[in-house]
Symmetry: C2
DNA sequence: GAAAAAGATTGAACGAGTTCATTTTTTAAG
DNA sequence: CTTAAAAAATGAACTCGTTCAATCTTTTTC
């Protein structure tokens, strides 16, 4: 029985995360009390704090899982994108946005984003920032790919362009989460309206 | 003695805001206790809560003042911008960034931004969002002005372009606030590196 | 297999933001 | 000027996230 301790540890980590996610979804982040999460996970409050530094860390852990999945889906699109700048962007970003509300509510996103801004030096906030960086890198890679296939002009600075697109889609997502009433489709339409003119500017074949 | 009540009210509102700003700057947002703010403002804790919904609201009120000043400075630049797209953007954004740390620390900004994301429905968060909208409108107006003066191509979608620039500069400012060690100059250089290639793309006179 | 060392768990206590029943002050009415 | 009504101020009590000294469990040592 070499790894009894390790096994228990893994089990508790999972149970806490599951309990927290369930309660965050059911009651919202603020209303879900640490005491309740601990009870549902069948550990004490103190133990919970041995596994996660604070309440926010548990949420950010969920977000990290979510973003990881989004990155996987995005990689498939970047590997073989539509050969039209505007459409390629729309496809990649659409996949980001569509996936975003699958596990997390707007309220959970708001809290997670707020935490990653306010306490940037906790390990899990750092992880969040790192994942953001990977998403940005993916958008840059899309522009590079389009460039390699002759869809986007060779002279365009792919890094600058990709960063601009990413920061824009990210900021627009924040605005989206701030307005409970805004539907996903409106977000997508607005971002597309922003990106389409730029996409036309950098496309090799000008559409009249 | 018609307006005794109104006079006292205005006085207390001001005293609370002054005390809070002083303590936030001196000790940081988290370490400044409501009790201390109340004491310095010479009101009770309960009274403080009659004037502001919560601790965050007081901070966001300070930020609102700050952004208002930035908007005024920006208006002067937009009225008479450098007649070069990249330089005009650099000038306007530089003024935003330079002013940003005059009253508020990075920590205060982080907290304020986190609050405006997490509790978007409080009156003062709404005000913050509105001011953000005004800043965005100002960047759009800059692009429009440059277009009117023939510096930027007539075909460019000024709104889309301005929104993109603004969301980018805003997101970059968030990243800047997350990293205590990053100096203002680095932020400005990085944003300029992103905007310069785009500015070249949309400029009427191509620089070789 | 017993004892010591290391590692985890526990829940009561703590701290700080927030609330609300009570009291005080101001205004309006007679 | 007195009194009633309205508005505002007050601070003790409450909530909930977080901590930490004491206790229990697992592993290692001999």
């Amino acid at each position: 029985m070499a790894g009894l301790r390790a096994k228990q540890k893994a089990d508790r980590t999972r149970r806490i995360l599951e309990a927290a996610t369930t309660l965050f979804r059911r009651e919202g982040y603020d209303s879900a009390r640490i005491e309740d999460i601990a009870e549902m996970a069948e550990v004490s409050v103190g133990t919970l704090y041995n596994y996660y530094q604070n309440k926010g860390d548990i949420l950010v852990a969920t977000v990290a899982m979510e973003v990881t999945e989004v990155l996987e889906g995005g990689a498939r699109i970047v590997a073989n994108p539509p050969l039209n700048a505007a459409e390629a962007l729309r496809t990649l970003i659409g996949q980001y946005y569509d996936h975003s509300l699958y596990y997390l509510s707007k309220e959970m996103w708001r809290t997670a984003m707020a935490i990653s801004i306010q306490q940037p030096d906790t390990p899990l906030s750092r992880r969040y920032t790192e994942l953001d960086g990977q998403l940005c890198a993916q958008v840059i890679r899309l522009v590079e790919t389009l460039q390699a296939r002759g869809v986007v002009q060779a002279g365009v600075d792919a890094r600058a362009m990709g960063e601009l697109f990413f920061n824009n889609l990210n900021m627009m997502f924040i605005e989206f989460c701030k307005v409970d009433a805004m539907p996903l489709e409106e977000l997508k339409a607005r971002v597309n309206a922003q990106h389409e003119p730029i996409a036309a500017l950098i496309s090799s074949i000008k559409i009249v």
